[in-house]
Symmetry: C2
Subunit: 120 residues, 2 copies
DNA sequence: TTAACTGCAAATCTTTTGCACAATC
DNA sequence: GATTGTGCAAAAGATTTGCAGTTAA
């Protein structure tokens, strides 16, 4: 099904290149559709992730974040400011398979270090 | 400080090569020390992780798991049976730095695929 | 029409925390 | 004797779910 709510959630997530939490998405969506419920946001995010349109990022000790950009890229969690930034490198599947000796269907690479702003 | 509880939690975690959840650790610890509390288990696990003696694994949509083996290795989440198994490959820091072009302080690589049992 | 989705609120699950007491240094 | 840890139970934070009513196919 395609509801206004689902379209709105997708619009919010893809509007910026930031990595929003469900709550931030909820607040942004609520600004345009005041009666929207948190549960609806979560349900639609789950659907969008399932549809392959949105990527879910699991953050250690913090709420999950959602990324509207499905192009292949990795994420850097800044040791200093905590921001999540994108790292545009190609698909690493083959590199990881040869490094680990394990055939894989998918992988998640989380890098911690200093983001471009903090590295100065 | 070094308490009986902390020693017991460490013993439980390192006793097997499995990747136990806090609750499993609590149950195993309770078997040897019936009055031990969940909060104590969590507090000691946090300390042990901080001490670098135990590794914490963040599992998507599931409770965290704790790994008593601190030697460098990665984890495979089986697509079929959901088990977490170890992949013994060397340190991938340099390989990842060159693949991503990003200096890093640490990384977490999560691989999904078929474990040795399910791949048959 | 009927199957899927919504809003609301309550429930769930995991983890953390406040507190009075106890153990360790 | 001072500090740090413990057990208990309650709180917190994030996400999910039941339900009655609504919307989309």
């Amino acid at each position: 099904m395609n509801t206004k709510q689902k379209a709105l959630v997708l619009e919010v997530v893809t509007a910026t290149c930031s990595h929003m939490t469900a709550e931030e998405i909820y607040i942004a969506a609520k600004a345009k559709m005041p009666q929207i419920a948190m549960g609806t946001v979560y349900r639609n995010l789950a659907q969008l992730v399932n549809d392959g349109v949105v990527r879910k990022l699991e953050i250690p000790n913090a709420p999950d974040r959602y990324d509207g950009c499905t192009e292949c890229h990795e994420h850097l969690y800044c040791d200093k400011c905590g921001k999540v930034s994108d790292i545009w490198c190609g698909d690493l599947t083959e590199a990881i398979e040869s490094a680990t000796g394990q055939k894989l269907s998918s992988y998640t690479l989380t890098i911690r270090g200093l983001c471009s702003e903090c590295a100065v």
